[in-house]
């Protein structure tokens, strides 16, 4: 991809904080989310779910439900085919259990009826004959030979012997001589950690409206992070051509990775096909918790050696992640990112993915990284305590930098870790006095960031204003930042640009809104599309002036002669050029399609102060500061918003959020009451410090910022709590009963 090697340094629009284009719709209740759409003749779809953790489905009798007045269709796995692609088949089997219910809440049948009441009644009339099987929900138990097998024959070829069949993949990363490294250490600490599964916790439950017609055409409206991916998966499952299924993304009420896949969409399409009517399915919160993507739970061992002066000599991690009832690669991201913040001569991480009778894991903000980095950063902190070293100095001493061979292989380009650590050290927070029962913790965080397939179409309207069509659902204000980058490149005011999100028929394929990729990739494609439009405009002006195209330059929203030699002409503004476009060759547009690479990795550092009640084990976060490299903050408010929101999700993970399974394998807390996400009164202000170390892979230096902020809070909080109570904590969440117990144990 040809990009200007010269980086833009001075910005007029990028870096400002204009109002978001979707703002008024969202504050007036006008914005249309997944559940807000209706269609003529629409039916209500409802899903029947397994009450068991693990059971063979011997038979399903739907006759009584079908006979109920008002029921228009009933579907089970028998109504779906068997897609060739294994990952798509897994998605389908997760949407509708085939032969076996693999977890509590796994879908087994669905109905469409003319009212919600009838649909609910119909579910009760479906008779499922289950043969209950032994189940396993704990990662370590699931790995042991003899554990109940969730799915047989799913292991990749490289899994070592000695595990149960639930271990589906194994990965290993690293370099150097570990033994020699540990031998050089003055202190070696090895610890084991566990983290609970957490849910993305978006406030909007999954919802969709599907309409299939007898001629095989389909329309699907849904809340998703990627309408194109939804189309691919649903078309494959439904046996349709992509051209026949149009998917429109609604406004999305939070995703955080959890809406990068499908749960109800194929079911709604199947019900619509069978009933000949539009079908809407809206999940309840109970269904969201039971059957949509939590992240993995983990069991981990970390061993690190350090010299007296704080140099890490060797580092090793073993990661065991359970990702529910289907194979997952999330552990590889954990294994690669565990030691990413460090410049290490000897490092090794090994990871295993494990099947359990839990819902299929879905991506959650920097998937796989928070838990691994929590374990690593906890051991580093303990070493600092043991060796009486300053934890920031130690991180600075060992910090990865440009030219460091990363723990996952490649050598880093320009990265912002050192600058971020230095900013934390210079910040008044780091040296502020602590009160009684208080402790301060810090942690580094890392995420790879991705680019990916991206299309942008940019149209110069006849009045000189600009319409942009892009294909990535806006979950954090990206329509504003895309408009800003277009305005910057074209040299026009932000208000002259309007960006919309296209349906799948309006653009080429776009990857989902994930990997912190949108501001980077769509921004990059927008800039390139704008440059293409500028080239057309300069060409038109060159013809009018009768000079070479090369002799026309673009500046401040106008075409100008490149210099005195080009001739003397008054600049022509974008409005003037657009107004006569019919005379000069027709409508003017620029477009750009790319599979963007060069996203640029992202680092952050968080500082957390906590106070622990010694009599109850309750933890209060009293001060919190986030430092992160944004490359270039296009809209600083929204960068801060990502930093604050990610930090608070991480705080919830560290303190109270967890999937609680009973001995019966059933989920105990499928609701916001007992799955305790942080509420406003739990939190202090979240201070933010944005660093800008330009990403060499983006014309404006932009890096993704969305995912990294969820990584550091886990260890920052654990280190703060451990220092506050004088005991090391090795388990998340650090709920009050655990802390009270730890405090009452002798050192």
């Amino acid at each position: 991809m040809a990009l200007d090697s010269e980086k833009k340094q001075v910005f007029k629009v990028v870096g400002t904080r204009p109002a978001r284009p979707d703002g008024i719709d969202k504050v007036t209740g006008r914005a249309m989310y997944g559940a807000d759409a209706t269609a003529p003749g629409m039916l209500v779809g409802r899903i029947l779910r397994s009450p068991h953790a693990h059971a063979i489905i011997r038979s399903i009798d739907t006759s009584a439900a079908e006979a109920l007045k008002g029921v228009k269709a009933v579907v089970t796995s028998a109504d779906f085919g068997a897609p060739e692609d294994e990952s798509i088949r897994d998605v389908q089997d997760n949407c509708m259990a085939r032969g076996k219910a693999l977890y509590h809440g796994h879908a087994v049948a669905a109905v469409a009826a003319n009212s919600a009441v009838v649909a609910s009644q119909a579910l009760k009339l479906i008779k499922v004959d289950y043969q209950i099987l032994p189940h396993v929900t704990d990662v370590d138990e699931a790995m042991r030979p003899g554990a109940p097998v969730v799915q047989a024959d799913r292991a990749f070829e490289n899994v070592a012997a000695g595990f149960s069949e639930n271990v589906t993949s194994q990965c290993e990363f690293g370099h150097g001589d570990l033994e020699a490294g540990f031998a050089k250490a003055d202190k070696v600490i090895e610890r084991s950690f566990t983290t609970a599964a957490t849910h993305q916790g978006y406030i909007e439950p999954h919802a969709c409206l599907a309409s299939m017609t007898p001629d095989g055409k389909g329309d699907l409206w849904c809340c998703t992070q990627g309408q194109f991916h939804v189309r691919t998966v649903c078309a494959e499952i439904m046996g349709m051509d992509a051209s026949q299924l149009r998917v429109t993304a609604s406004e999305i009420g939070g995703g955080f990775g959890g809406k990068t896949t499908v749960f109800i969409e194929p079911v709604a399409l199947a019900l619509s096909r069978k009933s000949g009517r539009p079908v809407k399915i809206v999940m309840t919160r109970d269904e969201v918790f039971k059957a949509t993507g939590p992240t993995v739970s983990s069991s981990m061992d970390v061993k690190i050696g350090m010299t007296k002066d704080g140099r890490i000599t060797a580092a090793q991690a073993r990661l065991r992640y359970q990702a529910g009832a289907f194979p997952s690669e999330t552990v590889t991201y954990g294994a690669q990112s565990a030691f990413a913040a460090y410049d290490l001569k000897a490092v090794e991480t090994i990871g295993w993915n494990v099947l359990t009778n839990r819902p299929k894991e879905a991506a959650y903000r920097a998937p796989g990284a928070p838990m691994a980095i929590y374990a690593v950063e906890s051991v580093v902190d303990e070493l600092c305590q043991e060796l009486s070293l300053d934890p920031l100095d130690v991180r600075l001493k060992n910090a990865a930098d440009k030219g460091t061979k990363s723990s996952y292989g490649p050598t880093f380009e320009a990265i912002g870790l050192r600058a971020t650590l230095e900013a934390a050290k210079a910040h008044p927070h780091y040296t502020a006095p602590l009160g009684v029962n208080q402790g301060r913790g810090l942690s580094c965080g890392f995420w790879f960031n991705f680019g990916g397939n991206t299309c942008v179409s940019l149209n110069i309207n006849t009045d000189g204003t600009v319409g942009i069509t892009e294909g990535n659902p806006d979950i954090g204000g990206s329509r504003a930042s895309i408009s800003q980058m277009a305005a910057e490149e074209l040299g026009i005011p932000y208000e002259k640009v309007r960006t919309i999100i296209a349906d799948t028929n309006s653009l080429g394929y776009n990857d989902v809104t994930d990997g912190s990729r949108v501001t980077f990739s769509v921004g990059l494609a927008t800039i390139e599309a704008a440059r293409n439009a500028i080239k057309v405009m300069c060409g038109r002006v060159a013809k009018i002036w009768g000079i070479d195209e090369d002799a026309v330059i673009w500046e401040d929203g106008c075409a100008k002669p490149s210099g005195p030699n080009a001739g003397s002409f008054d600049p022509m503004s974008i409005e003037e050029i657009a107004a006569i476009s019919a005379n000069t060759g027709g409508p003017i547009a620029g477009h750009f399609e790319v599979n963007a690479d060069g996203a640029g990795v992202s680092f952050g550092v968080h500082l957390a102060d906590v106070e622990v009640d010694p009599e109850t084990g309750a933890t209060k976060v009293v001060r919190y500061t986030v430092f992160q490299d944004a490359g270039k903050a296009v809209h600083p408010d929204y960068v801060e918003g990502q930093m604050q929101g990610g930090a608070v999700q991480g705080i919830g993970w560290a303190l109270n959020e967890e999937y609680i399974y009973g001995k019966n394998g059933l989920l105990q807390n499928p609701g916001f009451l007992d799955y305790r996400i942080p509420v406003a009164s739990d939190l202090p202000d979240i201070e933010t410090v944005i660093l800008e170390i330009p990403n060499p892979g983006h014309p404006y230096g932009v890096r993704g910022v969305g995912e990294t902020p969820i990584v550091p809070p886990l260890a920052a909080l654990s280190n703060a709590v451990s220092r506050a109570i004088g005991r090391r904590m090795f388990e998340l969440p650090m709920s009050p009963p655990k802390l009270l117990k730890a405090m009452s144990q002798k050192r």
């Binding site: 690669e329 994930d514 990997g515 599979n595 060069g598």
Partner: protein, 81 residues
């Protein structure tokens, strides 16, 4: 010839080596060569691999050019949240 660093769990397919040499000038050639020389790598290549070229990660780009002195690291294909 370019040196390709592979990740640890693929060693079983490369006779225990973590660095292998192939004759390739772009990502596509590299993948084809690897699959030919080390058939044990094929399942992973089919599941998806990315390429880090001098520190920059290419997730899919076949025609990413590889110079003779390039640092080439094979990585699992990755997605985010």
């Amino acid at each position: 010839m370019v040196k390709v660093l592979i990740w640890g769990s693929l060693r079983s397919a490369t006779e225990g080596q973590t660095e292998v040499e192939v004759d390739a000038s772009n990502f596509k050639e590299l993948l084809d060569q690897l699959a030919t020389l080390y058939p044990g790598l094929k399942p992973q290549i089919e599941r998806g691999v990315s390429l880090a070229l001098d520190g920059k990660i290419y997730r899919e780009a076949w025609f990413a050019e590889i110079g003779p002195d390039s640092e080439v690291v094979l990585m699992p294909y990755m997605t985010g949240g």
